[in-house]
Protein backbone atom coordinates (compact mmCIF):
# COMPACT_ATOMS: atom_id res chain seq x y z
CA UNK A 1 0.00 0.00 0.00
CA UNK A 2 2.67 2.44 0.98
CA UNK A 3 5.10 1.46 -1.70
CA UNK A 4 6.32 4.58 -3.35
CA UNK A 5 6.01 4.68 -7.07
CA UNK A 6 8.15 6.76 -9.26
CA UNK A 7 6.78 9.53 -11.34
CA UNK A 8 5.07 8.00 -14.25
CA UNK A 9 5.39 9.31 -17.75
CA UNK A 10 2.77 8.44 -20.33
CA UNK A 11 4.77 6.73 -22.97
CA UNK A 12 4.06 3.32 -24.35
CA UNK A 13 1.43 0.84 -23.26
CA UNK A 14 1.29 -0.41 -19.72
CA UNK A 15 -0.28 -3.50 -18.26
CA UNK A 16 -3.63 -2.76 -16.63
CA UNK A 17 -2.44 -3.57 -13.11
CA UNK A 18 0.14 -0.86 -13.30
CA UNK A 19 -1.98 1.60 -15.25
CA UNK A 20 -2.52 5.08 -13.80
CA UNK A 21 -5.91 5.83 -12.25
CA UNK A 22 -5.99 9.20 -14.02
CA UNK A 23 -4.36 9.70 -17.35
CA UNK A 24 -4.26 12.59 -19.81
CA UNK A 25 -3.07 11.91 -23.34
CA UNK A 26 -2.19 14.78 -25.64
CA UNK A 27 -4.87 17.04 -24.18
CA UNK A 28 -5.22 20.47 -25.77
CA UNK A 29 -7.69 23.25 -25.19
CA UNK A 30 -8.27 26.39 -27.21
CA UNK A 31 -10.62 29.25 -26.47
CA UNK A 32 -11.25 30.81 -29.84
CA UNK A 33 -7.80 31.06 -31.34
CA UNK A 34 -6.02 31.04 -28.00
CA UNK A 35 -4.44 27.75 -27.07
CA UNK A 36 -4.37 27.59 -23.26
CA UNK A 37 -3.40 23.94 -22.91
CA UNK A 38 -1.07 22.35 -25.43
CA UNK A 39 -0.53 18.62 -25.87
CA UNK A 40 -0.55 17.82 -22.17
CA UNK A 41 0.08 14.25 -21.08
CA UNK A 42 0.61 12.86 -17.62
CA UNK A 43 -0.56 10.00 -15.46
CA UNK A 44 -1.32 9.66 -11.79
CA UNK A 45 -1.05 6.36 -9.90
CA UNK A 46 -3.59 5.15 -7.37
CA UNK A 47 -3.00 6.52 -3.89
CA UNK A 48 -0.48 8.99 -5.18
CA UNK A 49 -0.37 12.63 -4.12
CA UNK A 50 0.28 14.78 -7.15
CA UNK A 51 0.66 18.53 -7.49
CA UNK A 52 -0.05 20.53 -10.59
CA UNK A 53 2.07 23.67 -10.29
CA UNK A 54 3.08 26.58 -12.46
CA UNK A 55 3.03 30.37 -12.60
CA UNK A 56 -0.24 32.28 -12.71
CA UNK A 57 -2.06 31.71 -15.96
CA UNK A 58 -0.19 28.49 -16.70
CA UNK A 59 -3.52 26.69 -17.16
CA UNK A 60 -3.69 24.65 -13.95
CA UNK A 61 -7.32 25.34 -13.15
CA UNK A 62 -8.18 24.84 -16.81
CA UNK A 63 -6.74 21.32 -16.58
CA UNK A 64 -9.07 20.65 -13.63
CA UNK A 65 -11.98 22.04 -15.61
CA UNK A 66 -11.12 19.74 -18.51
CA UNK A 67 -10.84 16.67 -16.28
CA UNK A 68 -14.13 17.42 -14.51
CA UNK A 69 -15.83 18.23 -17.80
CA UNK A 70 -16.63 21.90 -17.22
CA UNK A 71 -15.04 22.49 -20.65
CA UNK A 72 -14.74 19.96 -23.47
CA UNK A 73 -11.20 19.27 -24.67
CA UNK A 74 -10.16 20.49 -28.10
CA UNK A 75 -7.97 17.42 -28.62
CA UNK A 76 -6.66 14.48 -26.67
CA UNK A 77 -8.07 11.89 -24.28
CA UNK A 78 -8.77 11.72 -20.57
CA UNK A 79 -8.99 8.35 -18.84
CA UNK A 80 -10.10 7.45 -15.33
CA UNK A 81 -9.67 3.90 -14.08
CA UNK A 82 -8.81 2.86 -17.61
CA UNK A 83 -12.08 4.22 -18.95
CA UNK A 84 -12.16 6.98 -21.54
CA UNK A 85 -14.25 9.83 -20.08
CA UNK A 86 -13.37 12.47 -22.69
CA UNK A 87 -16.93 12.56 -24.04
CA UNK A 88 -18.75 11.94 -20.76
CA UNK A 89 -20.95 14.90 -19.69
CA UNK A 90 -19.73 16.78 -16.61
CA UNK A 91 -22.78 15.65 -14.63
CA UNK A 92 -21.73 12.00 -14.89
CA UNK A 93 -18.00 12.32 -14.32
CA UNK A 94 -18.13 12.00 -10.57
CA UNK A 95 -19.77 8.62 -11.05
CA UNK A 96 -16.87 7.69 -13.30
CA UNK A 97 -14.40 8.51 -10.58
CA UNK A 98 -13.31 12.17 -10.48
CA UNK A 99 -14.45 14.59 -7.82
CA UNK A 100 -13.26 18.10 -7.15
CA UNK A 101 -13.18 21.20 -5.00
CA UNK A 102 -13.03 24.76 -6.26
CA UNK A 103 -10.53 27.58 -6.12
CA UNK A 104 -13.20 29.97 -4.90
CA UNK A 105 -15.32 28.12 -2.39
CA UNK A 106 -18.50 26.87 -4.03
CA UNK A 107 -20.67 25.57 -1.21
CA UNK A 108 -24.46 25.82 -1.33
CA UNK A 109 -24.89 28.91 0.81
CA UNK A 110 -28.53 28.33 1.75
CA UNK A 111 -27.82 24.90 3.23
CA UNK A 112 -26.22 23.78 6.47
CA UNK A 113 -22.82 22.14 6.60
CA UNK A 114 -24.33 18.68 6.95
CA UNK A 115 -26.73 19.31 4.07
CA UNK A 116 -23.84 20.42 1.88
CA UNK A 117 -22.09 17.17 2.63
CA UNK A 118 -25.31 15.29 1.80
CA UNK A 119 -25.18 16.93 -1.63
CA UNK A 120 -21.79 15.26 -2.07
CA UNK A 121 -23.49 11.86 -1.98
CA UNK A 122 -25.62 12.64 -5.04
CA UNK A 123 -23.47 10.67 -7.50
CA UNK A 124 -24.29 7.53 -5.52
CA UNK A 125 -28.07 8.10 -5.47
CA UNK A 126 -29.91 6.20 -8.16
CA UNK A 127 -33.31 5.17 -6.78
CA UNK A 128 -36.34 7.44 -6.80
CA UNK A 129 -37.19 6.23 -3.30
CA UNK A 130 -33.90 7.68 -2.10
CA UNK A 131 -34.51 10.98 -3.85
CA UNK A 132 -37.91 11.19 -2.13
CA UNK A 133 -36.65 10.13 1.30
CA UNK A 134 -36.83 13.00 3.84
CA UNK A 135 -33.10 12.83 4.55
CA UNK A 136 -32.98 16.38 5.93
CA UNK A 137 -35.18 15.37 8.85
CA UNK A 138 -33.99 11.79 9.36
CA UNK A 139 -30.75 12.01 11.27
CA UNK A 140 -30.65 8.28 11.83
CA UNK A 141 -30.81 7.31 8.18
CA UNK A 142 -27.86 5.59 6.54
CA UNK A 143 -27.02 8.61 4.38
CA UNK A 144 -27.28 11.13 7.20
CA UNK A 145 -25.14 8.94 9.46
CA UNK A 146 -22.53 8.59 6.77
CA UNK A 147 -22.45 12.36 6.30
CA UNK A 148 -22.21 12.93 10.04
CA UNK A 149 -19.36 10.44 10.29
CA UNK A 150 -17.56 12.17 7.44
CA UNK A 151 -17.84 15.48 9.29
CA UNK A 152 -16.57 13.87 12.46
CA UNK A 153 -13.55 12.40 10.68
CA UNK A 154 -12.80 15.81 9.21
CA UNK A 155 -13.07 17.35 12.68
CA UNK A 156 -16.08 19.40 11.60
CA UNK A 157 -18.80 17.77 13.69
CA UNK A 158 -19.44 20.88 15.75
CA UNK A 159 -20.41 22.81 12.60
CA UNK A 160 -22.93 20.26 11.27
CA UNK A 161 -25.97 22.47 11.84
CA UNK A 162 -24.38 25.81 10.98
CA UNK A 163 -25.10 27.73 7.83
CA UNK A 164 -21.97 27.60 5.67
CA UNK A 165 -21.75 31.34 5.09
CA UNK A 166 -21.28 32.02 8.78
CA UNK A 167 -18.14 29.88 9.01
CA UNK A 168 -14.48 30.87 8.67
CA UNK A 169 -12.79 30.41 5.31
CA UNK A 170 -10.58 27.55 6.49
CA UNK A 171 -13.58 25.58 7.73
CA UNK A 172 -15.44 26.12 4.47
CA UNK A 173 -12.43 24.77 2.55
CA UNK A 174 -12.51 21.61 4.65
CA UNK A 175 -16.23 21.20 4.07
CA UNK A 176 -15.58 21.27 0.34
CA UNK A 177 -13.10 18.44 0.71
CA UNK A 178 -15.50 16.42 2.87
CA UNK A 179 -18.23 16.95 0.30
CA UNK A 180 -15.98 15.97 -2.60
CA UNK A 181 -14.99 12.76 -0.80
CA UNK A 182 -18.53 11.46 -0.36
CA UNK A 183 -19.26 11.11 -4.06
CA UNK A 184 -17.31 7.86 -4.01
CA UNK A 185 -14.79 9.04 -6.59
CA UNK A 186 -11.26 7.61 -6.62
CA UNK A 187 -9.58 10.77 -7.82
CA UNK A 188 -9.86 14.01 -5.87
CA UNK A 189 -8.99 17.23 -7.67
CA UNK A 190 -8.35 19.97 -5.12
CA UNK A 191 -7.96 23.49 -6.45
CA UNK A 192 -5.70 25.42 -4.06
CA UNK A 193 -6.80 23.64 -0.88
CA UNK A 194 -4.26 25.51 1.26
CA UNK A 195 -4.94 29.02 -0.06
CA UNK A 196 -6.07 31.34 2.71
CA UNK A 197 -5.34 28.88 5.51
CA UNK A 198 -3.24 29.78 8.53
CA UNK A 199 -0.14 27.65 9.35
CA UNK A 200 -1.96 25.37 11.82
CA UNK A 201 -4.81 24.81 9.37
CA UNK A 202 -2.32 24.09 6.60
CA UNK A 203 -0.57 21.52 8.77
CA UNK A 204 -3.88 19.85 9.63
CA UNK A 205 -4.87 19.82 5.96
CA UNK A 206 -1.61 18.10 5.04
CA UNK A 207 -2.24 15.37 7.61
CA UNK A 208 -5.80 14.98 6.46
CA UNK A 209 -4.85 14.64 2.80
CA UNK A 210 -2.14 12.13 3.67
CA UNK A 211 -4.61 9.93 5.51
CA UNK A 212 -7.14 10.26 2.68
CA UNK A 213 -4.48 9.07 0.24
CA UNK A 214 -3.62 6.18 2.53
CA UNK A 215 -7.23 5.07 2.32
CA UNK A 216 -6.67 4.60 -1.38
CA UNK A 217 -7.85 7.91 -2.79
CA UNK A 218 -5.73 9.61 -5.39
CA UNK A 219 -5.13 13.29 -4.78
CA UNK A 220 -4.25 15.93 -7.33
CA UNK A 221 -3.77 19.47 -6.03
CA UNK A 222 -3.26 22.77 -7.77
CA UNK A 223 -1.20 24.74 -5.32
CA UNK A 224 1.00 27.81 -5.06
CA UNK A 225 2.44 27.07 -1.65
CA UNK A 226 5.63 25.22 -2.64
CA UNK A 227 6.42 24.21 0.92
CA UNK A 228 3.02 22.58 1.11
CA UNK A 229 3.62 20.80 -2.20
CA UNK A 230 7.07 19.63 -1.11
CA UNK A 231 5.74 18.25 2.14
CA UNK A 232 2.63 16.59 0.76
CA UNK A 233 3.24 15.46 -2.78
CA UNK A 234 5.48 12.80 -4.21
CA UNK A 235 4.73 13.65 -7.81
CA UNK A 236 4.76 17.08 -9.40
CA UNK A 237 3.71 18.20 -12.87
CA UNK A 238 4.87 21.69 -13.82
CA UNK A 239 2.93 23.73 -16.35
CA UNK A 240 3.95 26.92 -18.06
CA UNK A 241 1.91 28.59 -20.79
CA UNK A 242 -0.29 25.51 -21.02
CA UNK A 243 2.58 23.09 -21.60
CA UNK A 244 4.21 20.57 -19.34
CA UNK A 245 7.77 21.75 -18.71
CA UNK A 246 8.76 19.24 -16.04
CA UNK A 247 7.54 16.22 -14.14
CA UNK A 248 9.00 14.24 -11.25
CA UNK A 249 9.46 14.36 -7.51
CA UNK A 250 9.46 17.80 -5.86
CA UNK A 251 13.24 17.67 -5.54
CA UNK A 252 13.66 16.70 -9.17
CA UNK A 253 11.49 19.44 -10.63
CA UNK A 254 13.11 22.05 -8.43
CA UNK A 255 16.43 21.33 -10.15
CA UNK A 256 14.99 21.73 -13.65
CA UNK A 257 16.37 24.94 -15.17
CA UNK A 258 13.11 25.50 -17.07
CA UNK A 259 11.15 25.45 -13.82
CA UNK A 260 13.48 27.91 -12.16
CA UNK A 261 13.17 30.13 -15.21
CA UNK A 262 9.39 29.94 -15.29
CA UNK A 263 9.15 30.97 -11.67
CA UNK A 264 11.97 33.47 -11.41
CA UNK A 265 12.41 34.66 -14.97
CA UNK A 266 15.49 34.09 -17.13
CA UNK A 267 18.86 35.69 -16.60
CA UNK A 268 18.89 36.97 -20.15
CA UNK A 269 17.36 40.26 -19.15
Amino acid sequence: MNERRNAWATTGDDPVADAPVLRLDGVSKSFGGLEVIRDLSFGVMRGQRTALIGPNGAGKSTVFNLISGVYPVTAGRIQVNGEDITGVPSRLRMRRGVSRSFQNIRLVSHLTVLENVLIGQTPRIFKLAEVLYPVRSARGSRWAREATDALERAGLAEFAGSQVNDLPYGVQKQIEIARALLGGADVLLLDEPAAGLNPQETEALKERLRSIAEEGKTIVVVEHDMQFVGALCEHVVVLDFGQKIAEGTPAEVRREPQVVEAYLGSDAE
Binding site: S68, G69, V70, S90, R91, L92, R93, M94, R95, R100, F102, R106, V108, S109, H110, L111, T112, L114, E115, L118, I119, G120, T122, P123, I125, E130, V131, L132, Y133, P134, V135, R136, S137, R139, A144, T148, E152, A157, E158, A160, G161, Q163, R179, G183
Partner: protein
Protein backbone atom coordinates in the same frame (compact mmCIF):
# COMPACT_ATOMS: atom_id res chain seq x y z
CA UNK B 1 -69.40 31.14 10.15
CA UNK B 2 -70.42 34.52 8.75
CA UNK B 3 -70.50 34.93 5.01
CA UNK B 4 -67.84 37.61 5.22
CA UNK B 5 -65.46 35.49 7.23
CA UNK B 6 -65.97 32.51 4.96
CA UNK B 7 -65.34 34.68 1.91
CA UNK B 8 -62.05 35.91 3.34
CA UNK B 9 -61.02 32.39 4.34
CA UNK B 10 -61.67 31.00 0.86
CA UNK B 11 -59.55 33.72 -0.69
CA UNK B 12 -56.85 33.01 1.87
CA UNK B 13 -56.84 29.28 1.13
CA UNK B 14 -56.73 29.89 -2.62
CA UNK B 15 -53.94 32.40 -2.17
CA UNK B 16 -51.97 29.78 -0.23
CA UNK B 17 -52.28 27.40 -3.18
CA UNK B 18 -51.30 30.11 -5.68
CA UNK B 19 -48.38 31.09 -3.44
CA UNK B 20 -46.91 27.59 -3.71
CA UNK B 21 -47.52 27.66 -7.47
CA UNK B 22 -45.11 30.59 -7.64
CA UNK B 23 -42.83 29.34 -4.85
CA UNK B 24 -41.76 26.14 -6.61
CA UNK B 25 -40.20 27.74 -9.70
CA UNK B 26 -38.67 30.44 -7.47
CA UNK B 27 -37.12 27.74 -5.29
CA UNK B 28 -35.29 26.54 -8.39
CA UNK B 29 -34.31 30.09 -9.33
CA UNK B 30 -37.00 30.84 -11.90
CA UNK B 31 -39.46 33.70 -11.86
CA UNK B 32 -42.74 32.52 -13.39
CA UNK B 33 -44.84 35.52 -14.43
CA UNK B 34 -47.26 33.32 -16.35
CA UNK B 35 -48.84 31.67 -13.34
CA UNK B 36 -52.21 33.31 -14.11
CA UNK B 37 -52.20 31.48 -17.43
CA UNK B 38 -51.87 28.11 -15.70
CA UNK B 39 -54.55 29.10 -13.19
CA UNK B 40 -56.81 29.94 -16.12
CA UNK B 41 -56.11 26.66 -17.92
CA UNK B 42 -56.96 24.80 -14.70
CA UNK B 43 -60.15 26.79 -14.23
CA UNK B 44 -61.38 26.25 -17.79
CA UNK B 45 -60.33 22.62 -18.08
CA UNK B 46 -61.98 21.61 -14.81
CA UNK B 47 -65.11 23.69 -15.47
CA UNK B 48 -65.49 22.19 -18.92
CA UNK B 49 -65.01 18.67 -17.56
CA UNK B 50 -67.62 19.08 -14.82
CA UNK B 51 -70.08 21.08 -16.96
CA UNK B 52 -69.95 18.99 -20.10
CA UNK B 53 -69.08 15.52 -18.82
CA UNK B 54 -70.44 15.59 -15.30
CA UNK B 55 -67.02 14.87 -13.77
CA UNK B 56 -67.07 15.42 -10.00
CA UNK B 57 -65.56 18.79 -9.06
CA UNK B 58 -62.92 17.05 -6.91
CA UNK B 59 -61.72 14.92 -9.78
CA UNK B 60 -62.02 17.81 -12.22
CA UNK B 61 -59.73 19.96 -10.06
CA UNK B 62 -57.14 17.21 -9.59
CA UNK B 63 -57.30 16.51 -13.33
CA UNK B 64 -56.82 20.22 -14.02
CA UNK B 65 -53.63 20.11 -11.96
CA UNK B 66 -52.39 17.14 -13.96
CA UNK B 67 -53.14 18.88 -17.25
CA UNK B 68 -51.22 22.01 -16.24
CA UNK B 69 -48.36 19.83 -14.94
CA UNK B 70 -47.96 18.20 -18.34
CA UNK B 71 -48.50 21.50 -20.16
CA UNK B 72 -45.74 23.08 -18.07
CA UNK B 73 -43.32 20.22 -18.80
CA UNK B 74 -43.88 20.77 -22.52
CA UNK B 75 -43.56 24.54 -22.21
CA UNK B 76 -40.44 24.13 -20.06
CA UNK B 77 -38.47 22.81 -23.02
CA UNK B 78 -38.35 26.12 -24.90
CA UNK B 79 -38.99 28.49 -21.97
CA UNK B 80 -36.25 27.19 -19.68
CA UNK B 81 -33.68 27.80 -22.40
CA UNK B 82 -33.91 31.44 -21.39
CA UNK B 83 -32.47 32.81 -18.16
CA UNK B 84 -33.18 35.49 -15.61
CA UNK B 85 -35.14 38.43 -16.92
CA UNK B 86 -35.69 36.69 -20.28
CA UNK B 87 -37.20 33.69 -18.55
CA UNK B 88 -39.58 36.01 -16.70
CA UNK B 89 -40.49 37.65 -20.01
CA UNK B 90 -41.03 34.30 -21.73
CA UNK B 91 -43.39 33.12 -18.98
CA UNK B 92 -45.13 36.50 -19.07
CA UNK B 93 -45.66 36.17 -22.83
CA UNK B 94 -46.95 32.63 -22.36
CA UNK B 95 -49.48 33.88 -19.81
CA UNK B 96 -50.64 36.59 -22.22
CA UNK B 97 -51.06 34.05 -25.02
CA UNK B 98 -53.23 31.90 -22.78
CA UNK B 99 -55.36 34.83 -21.68
CA UNK B 100 -56.10 35.82 -25.26
CA UNK B 101 -56.86 32.19 -25.99
CA UNK B 102 -59.52 32.19 -23.26
CA UNK B 103 -60.92 35.42 -24.71
CA UNK B 104 -61.39 33.80 -28.09
CA UNK B 105 -62.57 30.33 -27.13
CA UNK B 106 -66.30 30.56 -27.80
CA UNK B 107 -66.87 27.04 -26.52
CA UNK B 108 -66.19 28.29 -23.00
CA UNK B 109 -67.96 31.61 -23.48
CA UNK B 110 -65.12 33.79 -24.73
CA UNK B 111 -65.12 37.30 -23.28
CA UNK B 112 -68.58 36.76 -21.77
CA UNK B 113 -67.19 34.28 -19.26
CA UNK B 114 -68.20 30.76 -18.39
CA UNK B 115 -70.59 29.71 -15.62
CA UNK B 116 -69.54 26.69 -13.57
CA UNK B 117 -72.48 24.53 -12.50
CA UNK B 118 -70.95 22.22 -9.89
CA UNK B 119 -70.05 23.73 -6.53
CA UNK B 120 -67.18 23.11 -4.15
CA UNK B 121 -67.40 24.55 -0.64
CA UNK B 122 -64.75 25.86 1.69
CA UNK B 123 -64.11 22.39 3.14
CA UNK B 124 -62.85 20.97 -0.15
CA UNK B 125 -60.68 23.98 -0.79
CA UNK B 126 -59.19 23.70 2.70
CA UNK B 127 -58.34 20.04 2.11
CA UNK B 128 -56.54 20.88 -1.12
CA UNK B 129 -54.72 23.87 0.36
CA UNK B 130 -53.52 21.73 3.22
CA UNK B 131 -52.41 19.00 0.81
CA UNK B 132 -50.45 21.51 -1.28
CA UNK B 133 -48.67 22.74 1.82
CA UNK B 134 -47.95 19.20 3.03
CA UNK B 135 -46.57 18.04 -0.32
CA UNK B 136 -44.31 21.10 -0.49
CA UNK B 137 -43.16 20.79 3.11
CA UNK B 138 -42.44 17.09 2.66
CA UNK B 139 -40.53 17.47 -0.59
CA UNK B 140 -38.47 20.23 0.95
CA UNK B 141 -37.12 17.76 3.53
CA UNK B 142 -36.09 15.21 0.90
CA UNK B 143 -33.04 14.98 -1.29
CA UNK B 144 -35.28 16.37 -4.04
CA UNK B 145 -35.66 19.56 -1.99
CA UNK B 146 -31.98 19.60 -1.11
CA UNK B 147 -31.00 19.32 -4.76
CA UNK B 148 -33.49 22.05 -5.63
CA UNK B 149 -31.70 24.46 -3.27
CA UNK B 150 -28.37 23.44 -4.81
CA UNK B 151 -29.72 24.14 -8.31
CA UNK B 152 -31.02 27.51 -7.11
CA UNK B 153 -27.69 28.50 -5.57
CA UNK B 154 -25.15 27.13 -8.02
CA UNK B 155 -26.08 25.37 -11.24
CA UNK B 156 -22.50 24.54 -12.25
CA UNK B 157 -21.64 22.84 -8.97
CA UNK B 158 -24.98 21.01 -8.89
CA UNK B 159 -24.21 19.66 -12.33
CA UNK B 160 -20.75 18.47 -11.28
CA UNK B 161 -22.26 16.65 -8.32
CA UNK B 162 -24.54 14.71 -10.63
CA UNK B 163 -27.76 16.71 -10.29
CA UNK B 164 -29.68 16.96 -13.54
CA UNK B 165 -30.17 20.73 -13.42
CA UNK B 166 -32.58 20.99 -16.35
CA UNK B 167 -34.75 18.20 -15.02
CA UNK B 168 -35.02 19.86 -11.61
CA UNK B 169 -35.85 23.22 -13.14
CA UNK B 170 -38.51 21.69 -15.38
CA UNK B 171 -40.03 19.76 -12.47
CA UNK B 172 -40.12 22.83 -10.23
CA UNK B 173 -41.85 24.75 -13.00
CA UNK B 174 -44.33 21.91 -13.56
CA UNK B 175 -45.12 21.29 -9.89
CA UNK B 176 -45.85 25.00 -9.53
CA UNK B 177 -48.06 24.86 -12.62
CA UNK B 178 -49.92 21.84 -11.22
CA UNK B 179 -50.75 23.79 -8.06
CA UNK B 180 -51.81 26.77 -10.19
CA UNK B 181 -54.12 24.56 -12.25
CA UNK B 182 -55.59 22.99 -9.13
CA UNK B 183 -56.17 26.41 -7.56
CA UNK B 184 -57.80 27.63 -10.77
CA UNK B 185 -60.19 24.71 -10.76
CA UNK B 186 -61.12 25.31 -7.13
CA UNK B 187 -61.68 29.01 -7.76
CA UNK B 188 -64.10 28.32 -10.61
CA UNK B 189 -66.02 25.68 -8.70
CA UNK B 190 -66.39 27.90 -5.67
CA UNK B 191 -67.31 31.19 -7.31
CA UNK B 192 -69.36 29.47 -10.05
CA UNK B 193 -68.16 31.83 -12.74
CA UNK B 194 -64.89 32.35 -14.57
CA UNK B 195 -63.87 34.94 -17.13
CA UNK B 196 -60.65 35.67 -19.04
CA UNK B 197 -60.09 38.99 -17.24
CA UNK B 198 -59.35 37.07 -14.04
CA UNK B 199 -56.16 35.64 -15.53
CA UNK B 200 -54.20 38.76 -16.28
CA UNK B 201 -50.61 39.66 -15.54
CA UNK B 202 -51.79 41.63 -12.50
CA UNK B 203 -52.85 38.40 -10.89
CA UNK B 204 -49.46 36.79 -11.56
CA UNK B 205 -47.61 39.80 -10.24
CA UNK B 206 -49.58 40.06 -7.03
CA UNK B 207 -48.94 36.39 -6.24
CA UNK B 208 -45.23 36.79 -6.97
CA UNK B 209 -45.27 39.88 -4.75
CA UNK B 210 -46.71 38.17 -1.73
CA UNK B 211 -44.47 35.14 -2.10
CA UNK B 212 -41.41 37.43 -2.19
CA UNK B 213 -42.78 39.26 0.84
CA UNK B 214 -43.13 36.02 2.74
CA UNK B 215 -39.70 34.83 1.68
CA UNK B 216 -38.61 32.05 -0.66
CA UNK B 217 -35.94 30.41 1.49
CA UNK B 218 -38.32 28.24 3.47
CA UNK B 219 -41.69 26.57 2.88
CA UNK B 220 -43.30 28.84 5.46
CA UNK B 221 -42.55 32.02 3.55
CA UNK B 222 -45.33 31.65 0.96
CA UNK B 223 -47.78 30.69 3.71
CA UNK B 224 -46.99 33.81 5.68
CA UNK B 225 -47.03 35.93 2.53
CA UNK B 226 -50.50 34.67 1.62
CA UNK B 227 -51.80 35.43 5.14
CA UNK B 228 -50.23 38.85 5.16
CA UNK B 229 -51.50 39.75 1.73
CA UNK B 230 -55.03 38.43 2.23
CA UNK B 231 -55.73 39.53 5.76
CA UNK B 232 -54.01 42.90 5.93
CA UNK B 233 -56.41 44.66 3.53
CA UNK B 234 -59.26 43.26 5.61
CA UNK B 235 -57.75 44.52 8.85
CA UNK B 236 -57.28 47.92 7.21
CA UNK B 237 -60.91 48.03 6.10
CA UNK B 238 -61.69 50.50 8.90
CA UNK B 239 -59.49 53.14 7.33
CA UNK B 240 -61.81 53.42 4.31
CA UNK B 241 -60.20 54.99 1.25
CA UNK B 242 -56.76 55.03 2.87
CA UNK B 243 -56.79 51.26 2.94
CA UNK B 244 -54.80 50.61 -0.20
CA UNK B 245 -52.37 53.44 0.37
CA UNK B 246 -51.55 52.09 3.84
CA UNK B 247 -51.30 48.59 2.41
CA UNK B 248 -48.82 49.77 -0.22
CA UNK B 249 -46.73 51.59 2.38
CA UNK B 250 -46.64 48.47 4.55
CA UNK B 251 -45.48 46.36 1.61
CA UNK B 252 -42.70 48.79 0.79
CA UNK B 253 -41.70 48.93 4.44
CA UNK B 254 -41.54 45.14 4.56
CA UNK B 255 -39.31 45.07 1.51
CA UNK B 256 -36.95 47.60 3.08
CA UNK B 257 -36.87 46.01 6.51
CA UNK B 258 -36.97 42.37 5.43
CA UNK B 259 -35.36 42.13 1.98
CA UNK B 260 -35.06 38.32 2.28
CA UNK B 261 -38.76 38.01 3.14
CA UNK B 262 -40.60 37.66 6.41
CA UNK B 263 -39.15 34.23 7.24
CA UNK B 264 -35.59 33.18 6.39
CA UNK B 265 -33.87 29.82 6.61
CA UNK B 266 -31.49 30.99 9.33
CA UNK B 267 -34.31 32.08 11.62
CA UNK B 268 -36.19 28.88 11.07
CA UNK B 269 -33.09 26.91 12.07
CA UNK B 270 -32.77 29.01 15.22
CA UNK B 271 -36.40 28.21 16.09
CA UNK B 272 -35.82 24.52 15.44
CA UNK B 273 -32.76 24.52 17.66
CA UNK B 274 -34.76 26.23 20.37
CA UNK B 275 -37.32 23.46 20.36
CA UNK B 276 -34.77 20.70 19.75
CA UNK B 277 -36.84 19.71 16.75
CA UNK B 278 -36.35 16.61 14.67
CA UNK B 279 -34.40 18.39 11.98
CA UNK B 280 -30.77 17.70 11.22
CA UNK B 281 -30.15 21.35 11.66
CA UNK B 282 -30.93 21.09 15.33
CA UNK B 283 -28.46 18.36 16.04
CA UNK B 284 -25.88 19.10 18.66
CA UNK B 285 -22.77 17.08 19.25
CA UNK B 286 -21.70 16.34 22.75
Amino acid sequence: MSGYLEGVLVILLLNVIFAYAVYWPLAAGQLNLGVAGFVGVGAYVSAYASNEYGVSPWLACIGAGMVTFVLALIIAVPVLRTRGIYLALATFAFGQVLQSLFLNLEVVGGAAGYPVLAYLGIGGIAVFAFAVFLVTAFLERTRFGLNMVAVHDDEAVSDLFGINVRRYQALAFAIGAAFAGLGGGLYGHHFSYIEPQNYSILFSISVVLFVLLGGTQTVFGPLLGAFFFTLLPEVLRGSEEWRYAIFAVLIIATMILRPQGLVTAGELRAVRRLFGGGALAGRSHG
